[in-house]
Symmetry: C2
Subunit: 138 residues, 2 copies
DNA sequence: ATATTATATGCCAATTAGTGCATATTAGCA
DNA sequence: TGCTAATATGCACTAATTGGCATATAATAT
């Protein structure tokens, strides 16, 4: 009953969902739920729900790989293309930048481009990264 | 408590408000409330309320001229500029196009670039336009 | 002063949306 | 088969949003 642009913008009218869009857009990666959870420091059930809303609005989709679910932007669509290139410039500021930093750290844990761990809290993340660096030097 | 981009996109997450933004953006004019009312065919109190929300979000402002209130886009801001140029491309489709047609008709009633009548319904509008054309030919 | 016109706003009811928690689902693994 | 890990979802609660109506405000005209 309402037009597409309205329902898409409704889906984007929430800080958490904008933060999610931000990590997808600036990373350019397909991300699994646990990676988004760690980037945003929000509970898993919230991220899952918000991802479902974005999926419903037609801006992202999922591809399952075992228990992992890789979510990615639907870029083969003219309206979405406009939207994403707008958001890429528009979403600037502390919150958005912090999320990217966290995501970049978290992505260091990937192996061969794939997510291999669930959520890890802040300290655990740092420890794991140190271990990884150590091992790669050996 | 929430960041600016979020509150702006919240303000845009409503079909009526997107339609309002559309008439501002594609017409490039400062419009008074009655002109927006006639373009969208919605009750005055709705338009007033929605304009207040957009004003609150920092995307439009008002300049009063007697009882008339001319609303206009706040374009001297980098984030707003991005937003408006995005919306200009993004807001396409029947609803949006129809509103523009209605607005164009309605703007024919202006005199020296100013609004000189309140709301007029569809038939009244057509009559008035015919009269105007007739008078201008004499 | 009073009436009229353009616009704003307060209040209510109805709907919708977000959070938190617990639990369901599904896949891999011992 | 049973366990654990990754993700999804149902439910209850609260908060926010919207439309409709009536009325307020404020400027102009009579």
């Amino acid at each position: 009953m309402i037009n597409r642009q309205t329902s898409v913008l409704k889906a984007l009218s929430d800080e958490t969902r904008l933060r999610i869009m931000n990590v997808f857009i600036t990373s350019g990666e397909a991300l699994c739920v646990c990676e988004v959870v760690d980037a945003l420091h929000l509970p898993q059930y919230q991220i899952s729900k918000h991802l479902a809303i974005l999926k419903n609005a037609g801006v992202i989709d999922v591809e399952k790989d075992g228990t992992w679910g890789y979510h990615y932007l639907i870029t083969d669509d003219p309206l979405n293309k406009m939207l994403f290139s707008f958001l890429k410039k528009y979403l600037v500021g502390e919150v958005f930048d912090d999320d990217i930093k966290q995501l970049d750290l978290r992505l260091l844990l990937r192996e061969e481009g794939r997510c291999v761990v669930g959520f890890v809290d802040e300290k655990e993340l740092k420890t794991k990264i140190k271990d990884k660096v150590k091992n790669s030097q050996v």
